[in-house]
């Protein structure tokens, strides 16, 4: 049976619990679910693998210059769109241009393409179509994360005719599947496209049909559906839910990630503009206990600097220690012994629980803290402005990526209002070092600054989990929540 199990089996219908949200332009996607539903026909230039490597998909290969300012992309030959058009270098260029259009609200790709942009649009000459199968990118500044960014879920490659908002309504793509139905909040169905020859024929597209079932956010109903045999796997399970799924015959698969929760201060708001306050609050919290109580010990302890041991450039610093008494003393010194702090979080259970655990630690130390939990819809309205709140950060393959996004002075997603010249310039420097080991030295200093400035309490790096029935294969949890159902199969 062992050998038998290795051989992918063709056919079958897979039913997966996953939120189905209203579709829109891929570059503005803000939920991986949006991308996952479309992965059957919208493919990517490159894929990020579970093991951390990058695998070329619509590209065959690429090269970067040493200083990471010039990239040459080789387009995979023989790829066709499902309407029959061949896939060429100009399609690649067209997509990059789309990504660079910052005038589209919510286009998050624009923030990743900064080195190719100028005035909210693609810089003249940034992208050169060398020939039908070659594209050259000329960067204005070094960017080691450019190719990795192209594996991010909003970087789905669309046909030049795609204008509207909805990739389901007009599903022209290069992949082997086609959408059958798509009802936000209810579910979606994709089926294998019989009229299209997929470039990677034979290495996937095993399933005939995939049904996504949106069961809402309440994990109890996922369990109920599983108990009733209505789903084969879930999208993601958290905390005790994982155990329950285990118990009812849906074993878990784990992905160790650099995804985390940032319990961050906004330095524009008093009293968090006071570094002593920040450090005192940090000191009151034992990250290991937060991991245990807030996240069931399903991850690894983090060190308040937002660089993960699995990042290639991670530099190990001396361990941090919690000390409730010292924390309170420091707070007293800063004159905030009786100040009432308010920790805001979204209503997502694991985040709320983590914050509850953080708050409980602070309370144990004698700090006066209250909690506020906001529903998702409202939380995101002001997520960068809350004085003291927790934000979930998905994993980025490189350590510098999140730092660039979230801690650089004036960054759009800089929710901490952290502004430190040394940090900014060190980050610039790191961005230009393509070699990870070389980058690590700069990183050590960057991480230290983060800790010394008390930018955030980052209790842990979370592992993420998926439970699937035993006859589902290839569907192990992916660190960036990729559901590449093209590769899944059922026995």
């Amino acid at each position: 049976p062992e050998a038998h199990a290795q051989e992918p089996q063709m056919g079958g219908t897979l039913r997966m619990q996953m939120a189905i949200k209203a579709q829109r332009d891929p570059r503005t996607w803000d939920w991986s679910e949006l991308a996952n539903a479309c992965r059957g026909w919208l493919e990517y230039l490159v894929d990020y693998q579970r093991d951390g490597s990058l695998q070329p998909v619509l590209l065959e290969s690429w090269e970067a210059s040493d200083d990471a300012t010039t990239y040459t992309l080789h387009v995979r030959p023989g790829v066709t769109w499902n309407n029959g058009d061949p896939f060429t270098a100009s399609d690649v260029a067209h997509n990059i241009e789309r990504w660079c259009d910052a005038s589209v609200e919510g286009n998050s790709m624009a923030s990743r393409m900064g080195s190719l942009m100028e005035n909210d649009a693609m810089r003249e000459g940034a992208v050169e179509v060398v020939d039908d199968l070659t594209v050259r990118l000329n960067l204005s500044s070094p960017d080691i994360a450019l190719i990795v960014s192209m594996a991010d879920y909003p970087a789905a490659v669309v046909h030049p005719s795609f204008t509207g908002d909805d990739p389901v309504a007009n599903p022209i793509g290069t992949g082997p599947y086609l959408p059958v139905s798509y009802d936000p909040g209810i579910g979606a169905v994709v089926e294998r496209n019989p009229d299209h020859t997929w470039w990677n024929e034979g290495n996937g597209a095993y399933l005939d049909r995939i049904e996504f079932i949106d069961l809402g956010t309440d994990p109890a109903s996922w369990i109920a559906a599983a108990e009733a045999g209505e789903i084969d796997l879930n999208y993601q399970a958290q905390g005790d839910i994982i155990d329950i799924f285990d118990a009812i015959g849906y074993p878990r698969s784990e992905a160790v990630t650099a995804a985390t929760i940032a319990v961050r201060f906004n330095q524009d708001n008093a009293p968090y503009d006071n570094k002593d306050v920040r450090l005192a609050l940090q000191k009151a919290v034992n990250n290991a206990i937060v991991l245990e109580l807030g996240y069931n010990d399903l991850g690894i302890v983090a060190e308040n600097h937002h660089v993960c041991p699995i990042h290639p450039e991670y530099a190990e610093l001396p361990p941090i220690e919690a000390d409730a008494a010292a924390a309170m003393a420091r707070l007293e010194e800063a004159g905030h012994a009786t100040t009432e702090f308010e920790l805001i979080s979204i209503d997502e259970p694991w985040q709320a629980e983590t914050c509850d655990a953080v708050a409980a630690q602070m309370r144990d130390a004698g700090i006066n803290i209250t909690r506020t939990i906001l529903p998702g819809a409202t939380f995101w309205n002001d997520w960068t402005k809350y004085p003291f709140s927790a934000t979930e950060w998905n994993m980025r393959p490189l350590g510098v990526q999140v730092l660039n996004l979230a801690y650089r002075t004036g960054g759009a997603w800089n929710e901490t209002a952290f502004s430190n010249e040394e940090f900014d310039s060190l980050l610039d420097e790191a961005n230009g070092i393509a070699d990870a080991d070389a980058r690590r030295e700069v990183m050590a200093r960057i991480e230290t600054i983060m800790q010394e400035e008390g930018v955030l309490i980052q209790p842990y790096w979370r592992s993420i989990f998926r439970n699937a029935a035993e006859n589902v294969h290839g569907a192990e949890m992916h660190p960036t929540f990729v559901v590449d159902y093209v590769k899944y199969w059922k026995s």
Partner: protein
């Protein structure tokens, strides 16, 4: 240490509840002794159903009162190693803490027993108070609507029906939303809603004592003083002494709950008023030349108390359920609050493996509502008998 068995758990819980038992015994002994002199309350002790119901309600009431004496742990503190532990589990490292989690730990390693006890306080702090304000509003509007009739009645009834036509949950989603919390809407509504009780008592006393200005000024002045003080604290959070205050969140919940309940009370009061106003003693008051408010508040209202008290009991129960509903939709009061609704909702996810964190507050909530219902039933039965 070994975990406790069920017998030990029960024994230890009974021990923790000692203050409640004492208070219960004293109350019952006194009440039964003097029941003939205590009017409707005394009659309650003639009805088994009523006594059981009252006992349950009183149990929770005393639990709320003596919560600080009863709890074994802080309701918010989390103890390492106690996540989802079953009832009777011993603490790994008790130090100076109570060595057991009597009813186990929840998913955040907090003591389920203590949370349930503190939850009683949380629930009994809001529900009766909200029901009371609803009643005052329903009464203040229902009396004139029933008494004067005409356009006023038509208008108020339309408004009441308007609110009643609103699906409760939609109303909650619209009113308890955090976005609304930041606007002035809750404050304005609270401003209006909390004004009514003050007006109510003022008119009540004025109607009664206007023939004796000295007394009237004293009473009304006193009421206004306390009223304005509480009002400033509750609505504007501007109480100089700091006795009265309400978080915007709570205020919002409060306003929403009152808003949902008041129209129903209005309808009941209006109906009773229509009935009572045709009685001769009302006519007698009219022939004395009494003002309409005196007649409404002193002639009609006291005689409507029977059904109103019954409904009040039911309404507290209903409000408790409503608060739970809010918790169910994540709209509840403060997030760590041990109130039963949110606790049930939090515990329900793990129900199939760790039933205790959800079951304990669920049973508590059920028993309180059941008690209130039984009490109302007993009261209804006894008030009909004479």
């Amino acid at each position: 240490m070994d975990p406790l068995n069920w017998f030990e758990i029960l024994a230890r819980m009974a021990q923790q509840f000692l203050p409640v038992w004492v208070a219960l015994v004293v109350t019952y002994a006194l009440s039964i002794r003097f029941k003939r002199r205590l009017g409707l309350y005394g009659k309650l002790f003639d009805s088994t159903v009523g006594m059981i119901g009252f006992g349950i309600v009183l149990f929770w009431l005393f639990t709320a009162l003596f919560a600080d004496l009863i709890v074994t742990h802080d309701a918010l503190s989390q103890v390492s190693g106690m996540r989802n532990e079953p009832p009777g589990s011993a603490l790994r490292d008790p130090r100076d803490l109570y060595p057991y989690y009597l009813l186990g730990g929840d998913s955040l390693a907090r003591d389920v027993f203590s949370r349930m006890v503190m939850g009683a306080r949380e629930v009994l702090r809001i529900a009766p108070f909200a029901a009371m304000i609803s009643f005052m509003i329903g009464i203040t509007l229902g009396l004139p609507a029933g008494y004067f009739g005409g356009k006023l009645d038509t208008g108020l009834t339309f408004l009441a029906n308007l609110v009643l036509a609103f699906p409760v949950i939609l109303l909650f989603f619209l009113l308890v939303a955090p976005e609304i919390q930041e606007t002035i809407i809750p404050s304005v509504m609270a401003g209006i809603l909390f004004l009514v009780p003050i007006l109510f008592v003022t008119i009540l006393l004025n109607a009664r004592f206007f023939t004796q200005p000295a007394k009237r000024n004293l009473y009304v002045g006193g009421v206004l003083l306390v009223g304005v003080w509480a009002y400033a604290g509750l609505v504007f959070d501007a109480d100089p002494v700091g006795l009265w205050s309400m978080s915007p969140n709570l205020l919002n919940v409060f306003v929403a709950v009152v808003f949902v309940n008041a129209p129903t009370v209005f309808r009941i009061v209006r109906g009773i008023t229509l009935d009572i106003k045709s009685r001769d003693y009302v006519a007698a008051a009219q022939t004395r030349g009494e003002g309409p408010w005196y007649i409404m508040l002193w002639e009609i209202l006291p005689n409507a108390r029977g059904p109103l008290i019954v409904d009040f009991c039911l309404r507290i129960g209903y409000t408790t359920i409503l608060l739970g509903t809010l918790g169910f939709f994540g709209l509840g009061v403060s997030p760590e609050s041990p109130d039963w609704g949110s606790t049930i909702n939090a515990g329900r996810r793990l129900l199939t493996v760790y039933p205790h964190p959800a079951l304990v507050p669920a049973i508590a909530l059920m028993s309180l509502v059941l008690g209130l219902n039984l009490l109302a039933d007993g009261l209804r039965e006894e008030s009909l008998k004479d």
